[in-house]
Amino acid sequence: MSERIIEFRDALREAMSQEMRRDPRVFLLGEEVAEYDGAYKVSRGMLEEFGPRRIIDTPISESGFAGLAIGAAMLGLRPIVEFMSWSFSLVAADPILNNAPKMLYMSGGQFGCPIVIRGNDGAGGQLGSTHSWCVEGMFSNVPGLKMAIPAFPDDAKGMLATAIRDDDPVFFLESERLLAMKGHVPEGDYYVPFGKAVVRRPGTDVTLVSFGRPVHFCLDAAEELAKEGISCEVIDGRTIRPLDIDTIVKSVKKTNGCVVVDQSWSFGSPGSEVAAQVHAHCFDDLDNHVMRVHSADVPSPYAANLEQEYLPNARRIAEAVRSALYVA
């Protein structure tokens, strides 16, 4: 295991660069990805190495470059589309939802769509409600796509490399708040398989399940709760589609309690799906119903204090855990 420590954003770039060196079909396009190194500097230096043929600055035209990438994927190329923010994917809803995930189905199995769509997802940067969309609730509802949401730098590399090699459309959600996070990231080829959740902290009293940045909120809450004698097992789901329900069920059967933490709105969300599946699989094992902690049911606030309160933060998670365990 490498002891090398790099930033989350560098891990993302390393995955893209390594795959591009390996496979000439892979290219990156999006707004500001070339000359400007990406709005969040994820593609820093890639233009220099791969040239403008493979690192492509596009007009401000999300539907345009998403649709173009789908056409290129139909011909067997492997586009990586960067949305500066997943918030901007809303103007490209038709290509990314109505075309990419159903291309294989609607062509009777002829045209696959091996496309990776990646970018910043979620609130926390005080960007205001139109730029803080958390799209996993809306988009994970659509069959035919895969959805990956890394929480740590090594996963950022391993999951993005897996996404690029995948034959299906992958929605890859990155939190801008995590891009500067540092961690051990293996050098060379490194792949994290989809549909394999990981236990980030073992525990015995309750299972916390989360995806992406809120995994860190769960770890913070677990640390706090440990001081009160409550032992939390924290599961990082890693991919929302496919969902590794087996790892979650195994944990809940051990702890007999479950709190799901999800930064999307609660109605029809990954959190509600996990809760429903845990209820179905673990009905006789649960000491309480599954609790859920989501973002508040309002647009993401602009004000810093309100935005922190809006998110499923450690305090709210700890409250939910106490409630799940009947601790007053």
Binding site: F27, R53, I56, T58, P59, S61, S63, G64, F65, A66, G67, L68, A69, I70, G71, A72, A73, M74, L75, G76, L77, V91, D94, P95, N98, N99, M103, L104, Y105, M106, S107, G108, G109, Q110, F111, G112, P143, G144, K146, D166, D167, D168, G195, R241, P242, L243, I245, A276, Q277, H279, A280, H281, F283
Partner: protein, 372 residues
């Protein structure tokens, strides 16, 4: 500073064989050899007949909603005639004639509109994309396909079709801008049939031509009589040369008319004047070729009668082939979802239940397959 002229431009309109039988010998000379002309005429006749039959199939409950192609055959046919066999044909749903010319088995079109995804599973060698029913999305795919061909160093180009209504969509503008800025060899072919369902062209676009929209993107553009196969072929040759030799996009506005309803779910008599439709019936792309061939002495009534007989038999055989294909198995709807079926979907497939989450699949009896 004085006010100067920043741009003067013009839109050329090409007409070679008009509805009165006038033929421009200078433009039309050697454009389509007589043997080819006969073949193109026969293809349009078959397409027209199949269109009539499809309408009847829908009315008798043997097919779903169907968009008739009647009156617009020359556009896609002329385009497919000029394109190479490995150029991409990226169509919407009024390009049957061009698709048949390329080699698409006609029963595939019927199968599609009968509600079977396998109608869109087309032999990859034909370089045809699935029929695109959302308006305008296919223009971006064509741009991507052509861009990918360029990326791979191939000389292939893409030709995409869409209606006048689609030119109001954002995707149209984004595709045009991309193709022009990134030097992508796409031929954008607008079939201006005057009606976006019930909305007439004058309400969709204030400009006198659709073709001029291309100028704003720095793209070469031309308007042609889309009911004149000669004019379509002439314009396509220009477009294909520019795209293949110079890697540039090109825009063609084929002025045509939707003689039928928008689809079988529509009744155009509610919003269109019969006089207008009658005027366009006189401009039918098939009739004018027939008259011209008679003028040339290469066609006569007995040949026409023989053709009609042949078309009758052929379309009956096409319908028979389409209807003889077995209904898909309910396994099929899971099989083309992912390159490899994920475990949760596999559970649904094995148990034939979408609500089985949490249940032990071994305890669920698999119901018998039910066909439609």
């Amino acid at each position: 500073m004085p006010i100067t002229n920043a741009l003067t431009t013009e839109i050329h309109r090409v007409s070679i064989l008009d509805e009165h039988g006038q033929f421009d010998a200078k433009l039309g000379e050697d454009l389509i050899p007589n043997n080819d002309l006969i073949k193109l005429y026969e293809e349009m006749s078959l397409c027209r007949k199949l269109d009539e039959i499809a309408f009847k199939l829908q009315r008798s409950g043997r097919m779903g909603t169907y968009p008739q192609n009647m009156g617009q055959e020359a556009n896609s046919l002329g385009a497919a005639y000029v394109l190479n066999q490995d150029d991409w044909l990226v169509t919407c749903y009024r390009e049957n004639c061009g698709l048949f010319h390329r080699g698409l088995p006609p029963e595939k079109i019927l199968l599609h509109w009968m509600g079977d995804e396998r109608g869109n599973n087309i032999d990859p060698k034909l370089c045809i994309t699935p029929i695109a029913v959302p308006i305008g999305t296919q223009m971006l795919h064509a741009t991507g396909l052509a861009w990918a061909s360029k990326y791979r160093g191939e000389k292939r180009i893409a030709c995409t079709f869409f209606g006048d209504g689609a030119t109001s969509e954002g995707d149209f503008h984004e595709a045009m801008n991309f193709a022009a800025n990134l030097d992508i060899p796409v031929v954008f072919f607008c079939q201006n049939n005057h009606w976006a369902i019930s909305v007439p062209g004058r309400i969709q676009c204030s400009a006198p031509t659709v073709a001029q929209r291309a100028i704003a993107y720095g793209m070469d553009t031309i308007q042609c009589d889309g009911n004149d196969i000669f004019a379509v072929v002439y314009c396509m040759r220009k477009a294909v040369e520019l795209a293949r030799e110079h890697g540039r996009p090109f825009f063609i506005e084929g002025v045509t008319y939707r003689l039928g309803d928008h689809t079988t779910a529509d009744d155009a008599r509610r919003y269109r004047d019969e006089e207008e439709v009658e005027l366009w019936r006189q401009r039918d792309p098939i009739i004018r070729v027939r008259n011209y061939m008679k003028q040339l002495g290469i066609w006569d009534d007995s040949k026409e009668a023989a053709l009609m007989e042949q078309v009758e038999a052929e379309t009956a055989a096409i319908v028979k082939r389409a209807e003889s294909i077995e209904a898909p198995d309910s396994d099929d709807f899971f099989n083309a979802m992912y390159a490899e079926i994920p475990p949760d979907l596999d559970l649904q497939r094995r148990t034939r239940r979408t609500s089985s989450i949490g249940q032990d699949p071994s305890q669920i009896e698999r119901p018998q397959t039910s066909s439609r």
